[in-house]
């Protein structure tokens, strides 16, 4: 139970950051794909710089997760079509709905019931992928 509270707290914090940084705004995503503002690139870029440095530190100093377990820094399966084609599908949706999976939930809380249609679509899309997976190039 204690663990779930920790994840809930991280979620609340994440939601606040997404909302207050406007990364959950359709307008910011549109503006990003028009290369018309540094805002989104700054968010992703600064998170990334700290992320790269931090993960290098974790690896070099062999820092463990809570309870002495290994950090989940798995190598992704090498492939090309899966990431490129899957990524293009995702990008088409990201620009159209103006929200990626995290912000979708943030927007429920922010009082936009219409986003539930987007989430329903995302669940259907996930399910359809599961059905078609064996037939798609990976």
């Amino acid at each position: 139970m204690k663990k779930y509270t920790a994840y809930l707290a991280i979620g609340v914090f994440f939601g606040l950051v997404m909302y207050k940084s406007e990364a959950a705004s359709w307008f910011r995503i549109y503006e990003m794909f028009r290369f018309d503002s540094f805002h989104m690139y700054g968010i992703i870029g600064s998170a990334l710089i700290l992320g790269v440095v931090g993960i290098q530190l974790i690896k070099r100093k062999n820092i463990k997760a809570l309870g002495g377990r290994d950090m989940q820094l798995n190598q992704k399966q090498p492939s090309f079509p899966r990431y490129l084609v899957g990524g293009i599908f995702f990008g088409l949706g990201w620009a159209l709905a103006g929200a990626c999976p995290g912000p979708m939930y943030v927007l429920i809380g922010a009082g936009f019931p219409s986003i539930l249609i987007v989430i329903s679509g995302a669940l259907i899309g996930t399910y359809v992928y599961g059905l078609l997976r064996a037939r798609l190039p990976h």
Binding site: Y7, K76, Y83, F89, L92, G130
Partner: protein, 188 residues
Amino acid sequence: MHWIYEPWPWYVAGPLIALVMFLLLFLGKQFGISANLRTKCAAFGAGKTSDFFDFDWKEERWNLMIVLGAIIGGFLGSTFMTNNGDNSVSISKNTVEELKSEYHFLSAGESYLPEELFAIESLNDFTTIAILLVGGFLVGFGARYAGGCTSGHAISGLSNLQLPSLIAVIGFFIGGLIMIHVFFPLIF
């Protein structure tokens, strides 16, 4: 503490997102939000029709807690952390102009989301429902096909210098640019 009511600048938000990733790593998890959609499909019984969902979803309950928290965070941020309820997003003037003149998104620069797409009244138009549904579908389908979304690839994967994540992020941008520069003029 006044800054907390203003929109947070990128140099505050970016490091805080990195912090979220490190907190999850420390708890033995990987930052990747879209996995919750797969967990939900499994919880709804999709394992009966596809082995992709045939796993013990209860093991993955933590990612449902994250998104439940995100809902609460969105509520707190929009309700208690604004300047007199001002939720408008100050996007660049050029973008506002384009949205108004090309697509008649008159709420550009004045609201958090375009009312033309997300206001309840806009749902009277079937096209709007279709746009939201298709947009969501592409996000869900694409995230699983690519094995991750913005958090899983653009943050976690790239931070861990994964070439697959770089390919995926390039894909995200190809898709986004095609949508906005090719499809938007046809849709709106």
